[in-house]
Every structure is written in C-alpha cells, then in structure tokens.
Subunit: 450 residues, 2 copies
C-alpha cells in the first residue's frame, strides 16, 4: 500500500472538517475547473487523474498524522472519526489526454462533505501541474511540426516529484521521451541522453574525448560538439568516427549554445559534404514553442529538440486559476444547487455538470456545459471513475493516454492551437444552468445575507 | 534510512559514468552557480542544502535500479561497480539563508568524477527550486513592510514535493507560516487557515455559517466574508460574534475577491466603528510583491497577506540558469583547471573557487570570487559540508536558517533589494582566475580542437 497523502492539505480543510463534524456531514458535490485558460492557451490537455485515483485509494490518516492534529488543538472525538475516514463517494472525470476549456468541470466529486472537501488541495495541486505541463508539451510538439521533442527538464523542475511527473505529462503531450532515468523506470518512458561538456573537458582534446566515447558506445550515439567551437566540433566528430571506424555513420551531434539557426545550417552542410547525411542534428538550450517556431520558419536544420526549463515549468504560464468549488449540497435530504456570487470573475455556476462536446466532420466545433441530467447534443466527456468509494474505471496505459491526446488535438481546428493569441474555443452554458444561477442569485442576495 | 534518489538523474550522467569507468575515474571538481540573476532579482537567498546533504548520505543504487539500467544496455562490470558506489568526496557550500549573486559558487564538490558528475541533476533540481522560492518569499515579505505573509500556495505548487518544499523555503524567506499541514508536521512550521467559501455556502445563510463556526472555534479565528457581498459579510461577522458572545472580539476577517484596496479600507472603517479595533484584515487571492507594494502605497488596510500561486511558482521568474560545471580535473595525478569556452554567456571560470564578501559599516559592499587558496579581503562564504564522504557540518535548525536570512538581508543595501530593476550587486573576479582563464583559452583553442 502506498503512503497516504491525506495530510497534504491546507489547514482550513481540517478546521472545516471539524466544524462539519459538529454541524452535520451532509452530502455535497464539488467540481474542479479553470475559470480562464492561461495566456496564449487555446486549450488544455488534461493530466493527473491517475495520481488522483491512487490518492483516493490510499486516503486515510496515519497515527502520527492524528497525533500532529491533536497537538494543533483538534478534538479527540473528531480525530477518532478521522482515524476511520476513507473515500466513500462518487467521482466523474475527464480522462487524461482529453482537451479541456474554460469553465468546464475536469473532475466532479459527490461524497459526504468532509471527504469531498478534504480532496481539494491535493487534487488541484496534481491536476493543475500535470495539465499545465501536458499542455506546454503539446504546444512545443506542435511547433516542432513533426520533428522530435525530448524532455530535458528534470534539473529545472520544481523538485524531484515535479521532475518525474513532468516527464510523464510531457510524454502525454507528445514528447518522444525524457532524460530522466527514474521517470523512465517508473513509467516506461523512453530515456534519452549522451554526454555533457564536462566529459569533453575531462580529456586533453575534444577529438580524444569523442574517440573514447565512441569506443564505449559505438556510433549509435550523439556527440556534443559545442564545448569549444561548434563547427570545429562537428569536424572533430566526423574525423573521430572516420579514424576509428572508417565509416560515415553517427546517430547525431548535439549543439547546446550559440546561434542555433546559422550553426545548424552550417553543421548540416559540413555533415552532408562529409557523407554523414543520416546524422541527425540535436539542439538544446533555451528552447520553447516560440523559439522553435521561429527557428523552423527561418529554415533551421534541426531534427530533434531537447527542451528543458520552459517545458517543465511552463514558464510563460506557470499557473492556472484552477479551483474546486461546491456546486450542490444536501438540505432536508436533497442535493440543492449552490454557488459563490462574489464580485467579478469568481462567481461559480451551480449544479452538478457534464461537458458535451459537439463534433462536425471530424472536427470539434463547440462545447456545451449542461447539468448531468440534461440530454444535450454532443458526447458527454466526463466518465465515472469512482462509485461508492470503489474504482470503477480502468486506468489506461500511458501509451493509450498519449495516443488519445494526439487524436483529440487532431480534431481541434488550427485556430485554437495557435501558440500566440489563439481563438477562444466556444464553450456555452445551458439555459437550465443559467436559469438556476439567476434564481440562486436572487435568493442568496435577499435571504443569505440577512 | 531514506530511499536513495540516485536514479533521479539524467541518462547522460549514467552514460558518462560508464565511459569514465572505462577511461578512468579521475578526481574532479564541479561547481554549482547561476550565470545571471533572474529578471528583477538583485539577490538570491540560498536554500536546498539540507536536502542535498540527505541525498548524499543516502546515495546508492538499489537492486531494481541496477536491473533497470541493465535493461537499458549498461554493462555488467560497470553495474557491479555502481552497486557499491557511495559518495566519498568533499563538498563546500553556502549555508541555507545566505545571499547569492551571479557567477558565485553555491556548492563545490571534489570527488572521483563518476560520483561528482552523478549529483548534477538532483543538486540543480533541489537548489534551483528552493532558492527561487526562498528568494520570492523574501521579496514578498519585503514588500509587505512588516505585515505578515503566509504561504497559501500548496495547491498551485508543481506537485506534492514542491508544495512541501515551497512551504519550507517560504519560511526561510520570511513568511510566518504555511497553510500546508504536512509541511507543518514535517518541519515544525506554524500552520494557518480557517474556512473556504464552500463552508459558507453549505449553510442556509452566511450569518448561520459564521455562528456555527464560532461555536466550534471561538473568536480566535478568521471569518471569510466575501462569499456573497464583502461588506455585508463584514457586518454579518460582527453581528454573529456579538449575538453569540456579547463581546467585540474576533481575530480576523478574510477577503479573497474584489477590489481589495477599497474593500479593505471600508472593512476597517466598519470594524472600527463597531468596536472591533483589534480584528485583523487578512487578504488573499492574486497577490505578489508588486501588488502588495502597490496596495500599501495606496493605503490599503491589510494586516496579513496570504500569498499562493505566485509565491510557490515564483511566477515572474520560475527558473534560473543554474548549472553545475567542471572547474578542474585530474591529469597526471594533479587537479588541473578546466573551463568551457563556447560562444556567448556559457563560458565558465576555471579553478576551485571561494566567495569573499566584503562588509563595511555593517553593510555588504562587494563580493570577490577568488580561488580557494587565495588570501583575499572579506569573509569566505563557502563552508565545508562533507569531507571524504562524511558530513562534517551541523545542519542548522529551520529557525536559525530563517534568522540568518533575515540578518543577511538586513546587511544588503536597499538598492539591491528593490523589487523592480534593482542595482546589480558588484561581483568581481580575482586576477588569478582571469589569468588562468586567458591561459586556458589560448591553450584550448590551439590544442584541444586539433
């Protein structure tokens, strides 16, 4: 059994739980969604559900968790209740690899309110981050127009967990692999990598370093050519291979500094003239979707992009406004719609919802957010994951998720996939939800604040 | 014993290790540093060393790690070597809470090159992230000018590990606590938090929700007043307290939406008029150092800031260019200076270095980066952490680290602490290093590429 992460929660979830413990652990429904897509995003690629499922399956408080909460002043009868708590509710969710737009529920949980509320911190943490990175990967892979993209970001991810999860999310978003060995082991993702500059520097000359390397690894390898002077490095790589093997075979060269646009063109010319036509040019350092688009527009001769910091931090949009909000709760034995109506953009839509996606001629044209029990046009995208605390969903293999993301992105028209100022994909809200909202606003402002 | 994270590494570290295993596991020195400070940063607050020490103490490859590497094609004699590898080297580092500037070594490792090289991915991952967040926290705390700042960011941190580590780094940077319960348990950081909007919504009216809460928690609590209409929420909070207790006592109210500037002023007026003069105003949502500075310049009446997403992602600078570079390696039994001289900013300074910080009248005035054996003016900031694989450093308590950061920041003149366009703190490089660099460039370009 994995360790429970129940205590990875904001304190207010626990203080609210104790208050609900006294006033009534009524049934409630919460929904996870983003209010707006981050800047320059026309879509999001959902990711993180597998970890959420594992979290729910292992959800419990350990003895030392409860001791800590007792130190913090929580009451004994409440802690006794917590010692037995497990997730007993229902969960519906958008599978990993599906597309998400603004105001669409990604996960919907119905459970006794103490359980449902407790999930908030972990669930946002996990889905927010993994969705950001799967999305960033999809953007970068899109900009690379068929060339390969590898996750090189472990060192700049926000911690160890982030490095591993970013490798998985990047793979979902279309990367061909990762440099991270632990992620490769854990998820079966292809791992990539050869040498650093320090390897070359540790030898008396660059060519000696290359020869030592080729003796160990053969020519199905990638030589790093920019430790001293990139184009002389390319020639040294060619000479090292020829002198050692007499053949014109080398998997690739990698450049990690300098003006990649002109250097890649020169390197291609040098390789081709020497008969190394099948040798690929790998580039890393400072890449993101904007730089890659620009390089390719200008005719850069690059076959494989190693993308690091900007991929694993989603650096142009390192956060979303993802929230987990109450949409109904029990009153006199019935689930009644709820909403938050505070000023500005933070108002929420009431009621338990489903997302209906409408396809025409193999292309997505619009989504409708409706109530669960509405019969609307399009495919209902949320599927049941947990029923009465039991996992009723087969967690797909990582390869299936990656293929799902690829196919879904193919169905999304280009105007929503532009990496700069994409069009806003149409997400409509059903008349029944709008009516419900108007009724509630009226009732809340007159009664609730009285 | 904690689990080893040796496999949290980029594949190239392992491929290089196998190559060094064959060509010679010579001694080498690597240094961790940032080339440039991120945008708007005039300093960094070092953090992450404790995790690096634990990583080194537990550094080993498990049986299943080695099996995975065998599947990936690594050779049996190399894997047998890896099965016994431990960290046996020396490490010098800047203690947590110290200030760092561009091109200054934060950590220096001297060890057999296979060991020293392996640390790269984990070390950058850990120090980069925690330093970014400690720095962001220091900026935000500085902007709050004596008012309290609490880390509310767990849900938007990049994964679980990031949430916990961000809470610790934020505390080092000057936050008074965190909302994250697990971080509170693990590190003894004060935990903060009361209620969410869902709690208020789950009751028939706001005042009923407040009363139910006060019955459980008493008046030493913070009521969230913006679920429906903020200023009516403030009045409901006052009435709920008065009706239940007959007193004018409440620890605080919290606002999480709307125009905080005008709402905080109005809320203060309402509270004071009702005799709740000691009730504090907590504000959360959308805060960072820029917003806080602006609010306070305009006279906002805010006592405590809860800062989330922007703190734990360092959203205006979610990455640094931190690297770990070879600076010397063994040749004929001697450690010889090494450097990378590739085009542009990626060149490195050769030789094993120390940072000398010069203080005048209790203020830092400049740093000098010199060789370890130079006798330069100022305090040598790197201290020895490991000697022949043994931890020879007493890891300070978190409170000590936090106090260290506070005192160091106090010594740094204001012009380097501005949150926008700070002056560049003077970091000079010793003549001996510059000479060494010139000699090496000459030698490398003539010989190495031959």
């Amino acid at each position: 059994m994995e360790k429970s992460l129940a205590l990875f929660t904001d304190l207010y979830e626990v203080t609210m739980a104790q208050a609900y413990f006294k006033t009534g652990n009524v049934k409630a429904t919460f929904e996870l969604f983003v209010r707006r897509l981050p800047p320059n995003r026309g879509y999001l690629v959902a990711a993180g559900l597998e970890d959420v499922c594992n979290y729910l399956l292992n959800f419990r408080f350990e003895k030392d968790d409860l001791e800590f909460l007792e130190e913090k002043g929580f009451e004994k009868d409440f802690l006794k209740f917590l010692s037995r708590i497990r997730f007993t509710g229902d969960m519906w969710a958008l599978p990993e690899g599906e597309l998400v737009f603004q105001n669409e529920p990604i996960i919907r949980v119905t459970a006794p309110i103490i359980e449902a509320q407790f999930l908030e911190t972990f669930m946002i943490n996990t889905v927010n981050f993994q969705t950001l990175i799967a999305t960033k990967a999809a953007r970068i892979v899109g900009a690379a127009k068929g060339r390969q993209v590898v996750d090189f970001g472990s060192r700049r991810a926000h911690g160890v967990d982030a490095g591993i999860k970013a490798a998985r999310a990047s793979y979902i978003g279309g990367c061909v692999g990762t440099s991270n060995v632990l992620a490769g082991k854990k998820y079966g993702i292809p791992v990539y990598g050869t040498m650093a500059h320090s390897y070359v520097e540790a030898f008396p000359s660059e060519k000696e370093a290359f020869k030592a390397w080729l003796k160990t690894w053969g020519t199905d390898t990638v030589l790093l050519v920019d430790t001293y002077d990139t184009l002389r490095g390319v020639r040294n790589a060619i000479e090292a291979v020829e002198e050692l093997t007499g053949k014109k075979e080398l998997k690739g060269i990698r450049m990690d500094s300098g003006d990649m646009l002109s250097l890649s063109k020169e390197a291609r010319r040098i390789l081709d003239e020497a008969g190394f036509n099948s040798t690929k040019i790998f580039v890393s350092s400072g890449l993101d979707e904007y730089v890659i688009e620009d390089y390719l527009n200008k005719g850069a001769q690059i076959d494989v992009f190693g993308v690091g910091s900007s991929l694993v931090t989603s650096d142009d949009a390192p956060k979303t406004d993802m929230v987990y909000k109450l949409v109904e709760s029990e009153e006199n034995g019935m689930l009644v719609p709820r909403m938050k109506i505070a000023e500005g953009e933070k108002a929420t839509l009431p009621g338990a919802k489903q997302v209906y996606r409408v396809e025409e001629n193999g292309r997505y044209v619009r989504d409708m957010v409706g109530l669960c029990d509405e019969n609307l046009e399009g495919e209902g995208k949320l599927v049941q994951i947990f029923k009465n605390g039991r996992l009723v969903y087969r967690l797909p293999k990582l390869e299936e998720i990656r293929e799902k993301a690829r196919m879904e992105l193919e169905k999304l028209p280009e105007e929503y996939k532009r990496i700069r100022s994409p069009e806003a994909y149409p997400v409509q809200v059903s008349e029944r939800i709008m009516d419900l909202g108007r009724q509630l606003v009226k009732r809340l402002l007159s009664v609730k604040q009285g």
